[in-house]
């Protein structure tokens, strides 16, 4: 009888030494001090690297922006080195790169390291981005507390503006990957029959940039705050104190992360579909991810360039955006919104993909009008680059072009409207089951309808003169982004968590969460259309006294909305930690390829590359072939 060698488990403290998050934090802190010192040296020795003390017409501050930027830069480098991201490039340069085989497949510590398993990256995103979503939500609760009375109580004006800006930046930038991060990473390779993503290390990099950006953004609180909302208009951004440097640095990191996520998902979908996965059999969620990736890959670099220009304006006194020195505020607005409008479609499109993916499963019917849904997503993607000046209708910019942008903005509502026809067709004569994911998916349509139709108001220039910069616009984009993306996120969580974590979420708590969230979301944001019509501008801590009742009602509803999120967290903790009821392999009886795999999904997803034999929406078709052959007879041919 041979003695099986027992692997000796090293003690915990020993296992913590290595390339992981702790090392990243430690080296990041060291990098901050090193960079600050280098930046200080640079500022002393180069006379144009002064702070913006003599910036014409924009006040001045005495901070050393170069020192701050270098500090952040070296902190991020230290963070990435500590996580182990330089190991592979250096090893490759020496001619000895490591294999792509995952070294750690079972330990819980792999969630805190560079891990090339896309499923691990998906879970990392779920919690990593989720944390920033909740921080942003907390900021919103604090904002609504301020708005209970039309005076600067309990937060002074500067703190309130920082709350507003952090809420906006957290929600839009940090959660740009709210769906693509967790669910795109986790499920796209599985849904197309692949065993990995195209560039696994880059995927891990895109995740680890997110906490770095989040920490940098939150450090703005210590550096004088952010006075300019999420849009960061120059010259207010040039004038701001050092917190703006944190904003610039965080946006630089996020734009890199967004570009690389889009690149990776696009390359994966284009090159790694299994044999038999024709474009017509591609799940609609994957189409949504593909459309979003196109936007990310093209629009996020423009944000990166814009932020480097702001960086140079602040640190080296260039004059990109300062009119008194040859620049133009309009340059910032054009560049920012050229990114900014595709950004909001980056937020919305994955939501379309999720709800159209979920609807057939719980209506037990094929997705009605699949080519139309694809055409809708492609149409939105193409048109979203041609509408950005609708944010600038009253700015004095290119007034003669306003009819053109009004037309393109109105036109984009046509492909957006297709998904409603898809939904109505899928529900037609269906057998609807009102599970928690289905409830969230249906609420998406209710909310996005209001959001989309209010968008028609703001796309009409005369009406936009009434509502631009007011709470009406705020209500419009909260209905589309929160009512859309966030509801779709929760639909995806309740739908896919049984497969991702192997645990069933409590259905009663889920329904309480849904109803509280849905009812109080609408009670919070519908009155804000009225607030905008009644002359309340955005981002203010004071308002006309006659609006106090309305604002109090909205704040109270918002507090209950926030409370509903706590119910979700309670459900998560209760189901994951205490009850831990293992989920069935296919609790929703879905035809999706991901549901044909065991739970938990094996490390390399499939034993053999499957051969796709049918589409995933063939409900009700008599004698329909299964979606794939998981163990095909012969070895698969290369490519599809």
């Amino acid at each position: 009888m041979s003695a099986t060698p027992i692997a000796v488990r090293r003690p915990l403290w020993r296992r913590l030494i290595g390339f992981n998050m702790l090392t990243g934090l430690a080296l990041g802190c060291g990098g901050w001090f090193l960079g600050g010192w280098i930046g200080g040296w640079m500022a002393v020795h180069h006379n144009y690297l002064q702070s913006a003390t003599s910036c014409n017409g924009c006040g001045g501050t005495d901070q050393n922006d170069v020192g701050i930027y270098m500090g952040y830069l070296f902190a991020v480098i230290g963070w990435l080195v500590g996580l182990g991201f330089l190991n592979y490039p250096i090893a490759r340069l020496r001619g000895r790169p490591p294999s792509m085989k995952h070294h750690e497949t079972t330990s819980w510590t792999r969630y805190f390291k560079l891990c090339t398993d896309h499923k691990v990256v998906g879970i990392q995103y779920l919690f990593g981005v989720g944390i920033f979503f909740f921080i942003g939500g907390l900021n919103a609760m604090l904002m609504r507390t301020e708005l209970l009375r039309p005076v600067e109580q309990p937060w002074p004006a500067g703190q309130y503006l920082t709350l507003v800006s952090l809420h906006g930046t957290m929600m839009i930038m940090m959660t740009s990957a709210f769906i693509l991060g967790p669910f795109g990473n986790y499920f796209v390779p599985i849904m197309i029959g692949a065993r990995r993503m195209a560039f696994p290390r880059i995927e891990s990099l895109t995740f680890w940039l997110v906490p770095a950006a989040g920490l940098i953004l939150m450090s703005a609180i210590a550096f004088g705050g952010l006075p300019f909302g999420w849009t960061g208009y120059a010259p207010l951004a040039d004038q701001a104190r050092a917190g703006a440097d944190a904003y610039v640095m965080a946006f630089i990191l996020i734009s890199i992360s967004l570009t690389l996520v889009g690149l990776n998902l696009m390359a994966t979908i284009l090159t790694m579909r299994a044999p038999g996965m024709t474009w017509r059999r591609l799940p609609i969620f994957v189409w949504g991810v593909l459309s979003t990736s196109v936007l990310q890959v093209l629009a996020a670099p423009v944000l990166l360039a814009t932020m480097t220009m702001v960086l140079m304006d602040r640190a080296t006194n260039t004059s990109f955006f300062l009119a008194s020195a040859g620049g133009s505020q309009y340059l910032y607005e054009n560049l920012f919104w050229f990114f900014g409008h595709p950004e909001v479609y980056i937020l919305a499109l994955p939501g379309f993909g999720i709800v159209l993916e979920i609807l057939p499963v719980f209506a037990r019917k094929p997705l009605w009008g699949y080519p139309l849904a694809v055409a809708g997503m492609v149409g939105v993607t193409l048109l979203s680059f041609m509408v950005w000046q609708h944010h600038l209708f009253v700015s004095g910019l290119n007034a003669g072009l306003r009819p053109f942008y009004m037309l393109t903005t109105e036109l984009i509502s046509i492909p957006t409207g297709f998904i409603f026809l898809n939904a109505m067709g899928t529900l037609w004569r269906a057998r609807i089951r009102f599970t928690v994911p289905m409830l969230f998916a249906l609420a998406f349509f209710f909310n996005f309808l209001i959001g989309g139709l209010s968008g028609v108001f703001v796309s009409d220039v005369p009406s936009d003169v009434t509502t631009h910069g007011s709470y009406f616009v705020m209500a419009h984009f909260h209905y589309t982004i929160m009512g859309g993306l966030v509801f779709a996120f929760f639909a995806a969580v309740y739908y896919w968590l049984p497969k991702m974590l192997g645990v069933t979420l409590n259905e009663t708590l889920g329904k309480i969460h849904f109803w509280l969230m849905f009812v109080f979301f609408n009670l919070t944001f519908f009155p804000l259309f009225a607030a905008g019509f009644l002359d309340m501008p955005r981002r203010v801590s004071t308002y006309a006294p006659g609006l106090q009742t309305l604002n109090d009602f909205v704040s109270a509803s918002a507090f209950v909305l926030g409370f509903s999120m706590l119910i979700f967290i309670a459900n998560l903790v209760w189901s994951l930690v205490f009850v831990r009821e293992p989920a069935a392999e296919n609790p929703w009886a879905s035809r999706g390829l991901e549901w044909q795999l065991p739970t938990p999904i094996p490390v390399d997803n499939f034993e053999r590359i499957p051969v796709i034999t049918n589409g995933p929406y063939e409900y009700g078709v008599a004698g329909a072939a299964p979606v794939a052959q998981l163990t095909p007879g012969a070895l698969p041919a290369a490519g599809s």
């Binding site: 144009y48 592979y88 490039p89 490759r92 340069l93 001619g95 000895r96 790169p97 490591p98 294999s99 792509m100 085989k101 065993r195 990995r196 195209a198 560039f199 696994p200 880059i202 570009t259 690149l263 990776n264 696009m266 390359a267 284009l270 090159t271 790694m272 890959v297 093209l298 629009a299 996020a300 670099p301 423009v302 990166l304 360039a305 480097t308 220009m309 140079m312 080296t316 006194n317 260039t318 004059s319 990109f320 009119a323 008194s324 020195a325 040859g326 620049g327 133009s328 309009y330 340059l331 054009n334 560049l335 050229f338 390399d604 053999r608 590359i609 070895l635 698969p636 290369a638 490519g639």
Partner: protein, 197 residues
């Protein structure tokens, strides 16, 4: 940039090659849009000429970068890209030499750009043109340096027994495609920054 290593068992060997090929094209598109922002900034600020300060401050000499530097840098970038692209048409045993030549040319361009910065005669505070010039050429040099690093890793691949010829060919093709797009951007930058000004 690319994660090319030992493939997973029973993965089609051309899959890595396909990944890099498509990834390089997407990356090149991203780079093009990044520099398009500076392209737009140049044309827009020049057209607006706010306060008459496009070309610099009154009563000081106008920012005037050295045309010689500009031409040589542009030629190095374009030549390096052409050599790298041409490498894919040559027999495989000459790839390594051609790629090394391309890397040398691009690195020379980066070095020359740094040299130009140290003897520029004006700085980022000298008006809108100077701002766009410094921003565009500086960031371009940075991007080029990163691409040269990638090219160096591709060259080091030739010494490895594990990388298949198909993968090596795809890697050279991919990095040369990105270099061609960067060369195009540099050519446009040269025309705008030195000729149109």
């Amino acid at each position: 940039m690319a994660s090319a290593a030992v493939p997973i068992a029973d993965e089609a060997p051309e899959l890595l090659a396909r990944n890099i090929r498509v990834g390089a094209r997407i990356w090149a598109a991203s780079q093009a849009f990044f520099f398009m922002a500076f392209f737009f900034a140049f044309l827009y600020l020049r057209a607006l000429n706010t306060n008459g300060l496009w070309r610099g401050w009154p009563n000081t000499h106008k920012p005037h970068p050295s045309l010689a530097f500009g031409i040589v840098i542009m030629i190095c970038v374009v030549a390096g890209a052409v050599v790298a692209r041409g490498a894919t048409l040559l027999p495989t045993r000459t790839w390594r030499v051609a790629a090394a030549g391309a890397a040398f040319l691009e690195l020379a361009a980066v070095g020359l750009q740094c040299a130009q910065f140290s003897s520029l005669g004006f700085g980022p505070t000298d008006g809108a043109y100077a701002s766009v010039f410094v921003g565009w050429t500086g960031l371009f040099a940075l991007m080029l340096f990163g691409t040269v690093y990638w090219l160096a890793t591709v060259i080091s691949d030739f010494g490895r027994a594990v990388a298949t010829p198909a993968f090596r060919g795809a890697a050279v093709e991919a990095v040369s495609f990105v270099l061609i797009v960067l060369a195009g951007i540099e050519f446009v930058a040269f025309i705008l920054l030195y000729v149109v000004a």
